[in-house]
Symmetry: C2
Subunit: 258 residues, 2 copies
């Protein structure tokens, strides 16, 4: 079985909503939605014109696949409650391994969309990387075909790589976002508008299309501009925690040159 | 005199090139280019179909303004060599104060474009914030009119604010770029492609259009997900310097909640 056509959605949060919508638009047959949050399930089911299953005992036993788009903490409990199923079971979590599935479930997999989803905001799913894992080659083939129906970027990675990817994403997105926060705080204190720096940020991101971050590095640290580095540390004297971050990252950036 | 029409360009690097081009396109009369790097001056002059001045003694004494788009270190020397001029003198540096001009030069100003320029890459100047400073109100008025001819965003700020803006830009752009570098290094070690994280980065930046960075903060630190935080620190054990950064920034992010 290389083709998944009949799909059951379990979950009704942001991930479930965006994925179910993408699958529906790609022409898959969504058998219905189950969610412990019945109201959310109803909203999603109405949006997609499909059934709501009020209990896990109601879900069809003969679907090709079951998408478990629920929180990491809810996953083990849902798995326990599932009836015996022949179709492929797949969870969507970046931080949960394949080992959440019991050994008896050979047809299990991870179908992980690497993106942050907001309820309100549409997303172009074709640009969302889909990361797959399964111990079963036939399942992997089926999931690759499924992934390609909604995204241009479909890769097979193992649990260790998925964890490394998550760690990298923390630096890339969560920590850079915190740098934006410090920046905004300093601007506010000086009655300056955060908007002023957005064009510069735009170019910083744009540069990554042609240069590696190390090649694109600019600023006083990489220039070894000691006068400016000292001035900046002095300007941060009322923010010892920002001063620490400034010092630590500037020291690291200076090592890039060697 | 509220209208600047005849402009002399001093400098021929990235900033001079992009600004002179924007001014030319906006219909200003570029009298010519002077640069200590004669070859560069020649290239820019040909591009704009204007004169090259081989020496500072050749520049016209009756232009409305003189744009000094040279490096911070070259600025004092160029200023010393300039003949007596009636027009407005303006430098383009983010980190040099008004005090670089001698007191006798009343008609002096800062005309600072807050953007990073690359020789190869065209830029939409209308979106580049122009930050102005001058002790003279008439000069400021003239510069506001001039700035509006090339950009939609023209603001008057003082030297202290300009310094704070530069410090904020270090966090916003230079330090976030270093976070991208760490991310890329970790991905490389695990045979993962940097491209995989770019859609997620795109959404992280996009969110800043509707949320403050503090509101947009996600990740294990803000969730106080101790299990993941400890796992990540353990995964970084071969990179003590990244481990330090991970710990320091995660501690700070956790303070956002209170």
């Amino acid at each position: 079985m290389n083709s998944i056509q009949r799909l059951v959605i379990i979950g009704s949060g942001n991930v479930a909503t965006h994925m179910a919508t993408a699958f529906k638009e790609a022409g898959l047959d969504i058998c219905g939605i189950y969610s412990r949050t019945v109201d959310n399930a109803q909203v999603l089911a109405e949006k997609l014109s499909v059934n709501v299953f009020k209990s896990l005992t109601e879900i069809p036993l003969d679907a090709d696949a079951y998408l478990l788009a629920v929180s990491d903490s809810a996953l083990p409990e849902i798995l326990k409650q599932l009836p015996a199923l022949d179709g492929i079971l797949m969870h969507t979590s970046g931080s949960v391994g394949l080992d959440v599935f019991s050994e008896s479930l050979k047809r299990s997999a991870v179908f992980y969309p690497l993106q942050t989803f907001s309820k309100a905001k549409q997303i172009d799913f074709s640009k969302v990387p889909i990361l797959l894992e399964s111990a079963d080659t036939t399942v992997l083939n089926a999931l690759q075909n499924l992934g390609k129906r909604i995204s241009e970027i479909v890769k097979i990675i193992d649990s260790e790589q998925r964890k490394q990817l998550h760690l990298s994403a923390v630096f890339m997105c969560n920590f850079s976002n915190y740098m934006f926060h410090i920046s905004e705080e300093l601007l506010k204190e000086n009655n300056l508008d955060f908007e002023l720096l957005k064009p510069l940020l735009g170019e910083t991101i744009e540069k990554l299309n042609s240069l590696s971050p190390a090649e694109a590095q600019t600023g006083p640290a990489i220039r070894n501009d000691k006068k400016t580095l000292n001035e900046h540390l002095e300007m941060l004297k009322n923010h010892p925690e920002y001063q620490n971050i400034y010092q630590l990252i500037s020291d690291q950036i200076q090592k890039l040159k060697s």
